[in-house]
Amino acid sequence: MKVSMKKFASVTGATALAIWSLISSSSAWADYQLNMHVPVTEAGRRAYDLHNDISLICLAIFIIVFGVLAYSLIFHRKSKGHKAADFHEHLGVEIAWTVIPSIILVLIAIPSTTTLMEMKDTSEPAITVKVTGYQWKWGYDYLKGEGEGIKFLSVLATPKDQIHNKAEKSPSYMMEVDNPLVVPVNTKIRILTTANDVIHAWAVPAFAVKQDAVPGFIRDTWFKAEKEGTYVGQCSELCGKDHGYMPIVVKVVSAGEYSTWVDEQKKKAASNVDDPNKVWTLDESMVRGEKVYNTACASCHGANGQGIPGTFPALDGSKIAKQAKNKAAHIDIVLHGKAGTAMQAFGGQLSDTDIATVVTYERNAWGNKTGDVIQPADIKAVR
């Protein structure tokens, strides 16, 4: 036994060393952390402190209980000739170790209650933003307060090559989006969450915020960030294939910068409006349609329309996308989706022009050379 324990020690030592060198060489341990981020909201800091305090209480209890146990393990051994005592009950001790933990729990419960009440108080926000979870992106909709009317989708910005290890990963790997949520500092922001398809959860650890987004229902939460900066989070409810790839990025800026941003957005929205009566040529449609396809459809139907067999149908060669008699059905499924499947209704997310061009694209890309050109007016007619 002695020999083998020695061997054991040397084997584990060597393994530990090997593993250590592997891990420490793999990167610089630059960003690892042992505890939570310190939140930048007051409610968040209270939750953070609460966590630290409770963890310390647990540690103290652990040390006491296992200190007693360690004493016993060392001194009450048979190999040391210790004879077993014969007691097996003690009312006083048993009452004590029921009552004392109960008291500790009551003491923990008090600050836990007040902190929670603060975290749940969503009254009197300066700005209200509706957040909609889609498979697999976020939609932001400024409902009230400065910036009212601004509306955009927010999609992962990390290139596919980095995900598939064909390119060096940037420091913000997986934590970057095309359009971040922008909010002013020191302002109470109320977030309403909902979802379009399945349950998602909107979470930003630095604000101590996490709220499920449930399709068909509206939930709410809030934060008031006290420091400018960029804060990230991730979808926190499994929502299908690309659940891991729908990050949340929030930029907290000064009041002045925020006003500038709002103006820019308004101007951009005004200049982006398509003429609903424009008649699109096939070539124009294909260029615009491909863009729409890649942001809205490729995650399921594949960049080349090949889909994922058994889960997401291929559009290349599909009856709906290829046969002339199914033109109306094609528009219908994109506009209204198909209940009970991942094929969502895009009518609310995309403009008539986007839908028209993406349908045109699907009917002419890859092997689907139908020659059909769908016009925005066709979409408007069936909306």
């Binding site: 109960s102 729990l105 939930r219 409810e237 499994l238 891991g244 209940a339 009970g340």
Partner: protein
């Protein structure tokens, strides 16, 4: 070998009028003998443990580095689901049912389980159910990619793999309910004369209460997945807001089953530990009566805390507060059990054979899991930690370290009784230390990942999480490989182990140690006289 016994002993059974079991495969298919069935449960659960473990290694391999290397996100989600379902329903639960089959009749002095033929059924449903779960991987669309919690609407979107899983879960539920009925009837009606309920071994007590939990909670799960099935195929809208339903309703039903389920796993583990610790402390269990009350309290409260899994679904403040307080209350009887075990060892005459080592490992790690559970119970803190790796760490500390360590403690403790042979103590200790070290390497660092904000159920992560994920993955492979050692130890004991007497451990108490080792095919055909324990 018509008289092959149980796991592999072969002492002839001399003085009885029965005939031996049929030989070959038919013996195992038709058997109604509680020892045969117990052995089949144990072997089955170990095989499932390896299958579920292999799936876990696929998950950990993908998470070794950021980026996608090994599997697609779709398949990753399928592994997440099947790993959990197979571990919970295929490995841990059947392991403890195996212990109950073997040990309850031996501990209470009964000749067999009350409903011997139903017992056969309960077992043979299991491989069929597991087959359905695994088959789901090979149908179009693959296995459900929803996680074991099967939340709609995501689960409504899934392909036919989901239907196979639902059917599998129905079968597993039937098996558990039949097992539960059998255990309750056996314990209440077949105890040896003189063995009152409050003199029963603690393992039987934990199983009696667990069996009630099973009967009360499994039908709830069956209801939930049936509603899912009708939502998927028959036009109902229980979980669809567009039809007046609510997706969160499913979560309430699921966790009304789910939280008692965690105690279905934990209580028999407590039972095994409560046998092993006194045996190697050479001292009766401390506070027998209070332990029984604590178990009963835990079982009852476990039906009233379910929404602590749902703090961020949007339940109102009053709901969050209620579930927080209720969850904190359940920590008290759980703590009491730990104190009782420590007091049992206090001033004992301790020795550290492998079963005791696993029991100590259990105590140490389960307590850590209890503490992280307390942290998670605090709603304000849980909002930061829910759906992160912190939760993964928590429940692996209570389930792997709790249930699996306890199952190993029980297996080493009773293996000599089952087979008649002693295992190799040195190898057993190796198995323990490797498991302990690799377990902590795998799961302790996940606390840090969760605190730093890494979500669970993702195939890829930001660069800041790299180091701890690497450590965790290496630990996981070490942990997986170390478990093969157990298989070797069992096979080696059967082949070349030292023969043991009836009383294998000098400090062990109970009727099971009065029958020869290996336990003959039929035991206690006339009830033994129970002379009363030490309580």
């Amino acid at each position: 070998m018509a008289h092959e016994h149980a796991i592999g002993g072969h002492a002839g059974h001399d003085d009885h009028e029965h005939h031996g079991p049929p030989s070959g495969i038919m013996r195992w298919i038709t058997t109604t003998n509680h020892k045969d069935i117990g052995s089949m449960y144990l072997w089955f659960s170990f095989i499932m443990f390896l299958v579920g473990g292999a799936m876990a290694l696929v998950i950990r391999a993908e998470l070794f580095q950021p980026g996608l290397q090994v599997v697609s996100p779709d398949f990753f989600n399928q592994m997440i689901t099947l790993h959990a379902l197979i571990m919970v329903f295929g490995a841990i639960m059947p392991a403890f049912v195996g212990f109950s089959n073997w040990m309850i009749p031996l501990q209470i002095g009964a000749p067999d389980m009350a409903f011997a033929r139903m017992n056969n059924w309960s077992f043979w449903i299991l491989p069929v159910a597991s087959f359905l779960l695994i088959l789901s991987m090979f149908v179009p669309g693959g296995a459900p990619g929803t996680g074991w919690t099967l939340y709609p609407p995501l689960s409504v979107q899934q392909g036919m793999g989901m239907d196979l899983a639902i059917f599998g879960i129905h079968l597993l539920g039937m098996s558990s309910i039949m097992g539960g009925i059998n255990i309750i009837t056996t314990i209440l009606n077949m105890r040896a004369p003189g063995m009152t309920l409050m003199k029963m071994p603690m393992f039987c007590w934990t199983w009696l209460i667990t069996a009630f939990l099973l009967i009360a909670s499994m039908p709830v799960l069956a209801g939930a997945v049936t509603m899912l099935l009708t939502d998927r195929h028959f036009g109902t809208t229980f979980f669809n807001a567009a039809g007046g339903g609510d997706p969160v309703l499913f979560q309430h039903i699921f966790w009304f089953f789910g939280h008692p389920e965690v105690y279905i796993i934990a209580l028999p583990a407590f039972g095994v530990i409560s046998q092993v610790i006194p045996a190697f402390s050479r001292k009766p269990i401390f506070g027998y009566a209070s332990m029984v009350y604590a178990i009963a309290a835990i079982a009852i409260i476990s039906f009233f805390v379910w929404a602590h899994h749902m703090y961020v679904t949007g339940i109102p403040l009053t709901g969050q507060l209620y579930f927080m307080y209720a969850t904190m209350i359940i920590a008290v009887p759980t703590g009491v059990k730990v104190f009782n075990w420590v007091a049992t060892m206090w001033k004992g005459s301790l020795s550290f054979e492998t079963p005791m080592l696993f029991a100590l490992g259990f105590l140490f790690l389960f307590t850590l899991g209890g503490f992280s559970g307390l942290v998670l119970a605090i709603t304000a803190v849980d909002i930061l930690l829910q759906e992160t790796y912190y939760v993964i760490a928590h429940f692996h500390y209570v389930m792997v370290a709790g249930a699996v360590f306890s199952a190993y403690a029980g297996a080493y403790y009773w293996l000599p009784k089952w087979t008649g042979y002693m295992y190799d103590e040195t190898l057993g200790k190796w198995h323990f230390w490797l498991t302990l070290i690799f377990f902590n390497m795998t799961f302790f660092v996940q606390h840090f990942l969760g605190l730093a904000g890494m979500p669970r159920r993702v195939p890829d992560y930001a660069l800041q999480f790299t180091e701890f994920n690497m450590i965790s993955s290496i630990g996981a492979f070490g942990l997986g490989i170390s478990q093969l050692l157990f298989l070797y130890i069992v096979l080696k004991a059967r082949k070349s182990g030292k023969k043991v007497d009836a009383q294998v451990w000098d400090g062990a108490e109970g009727l099971e140690w009065t029958v020869p080792s290996p336990a003959p095919y039929h035991t206690f055909e006339t009830p033994p006289v129970f002379e009363g324990g030490k309580h």
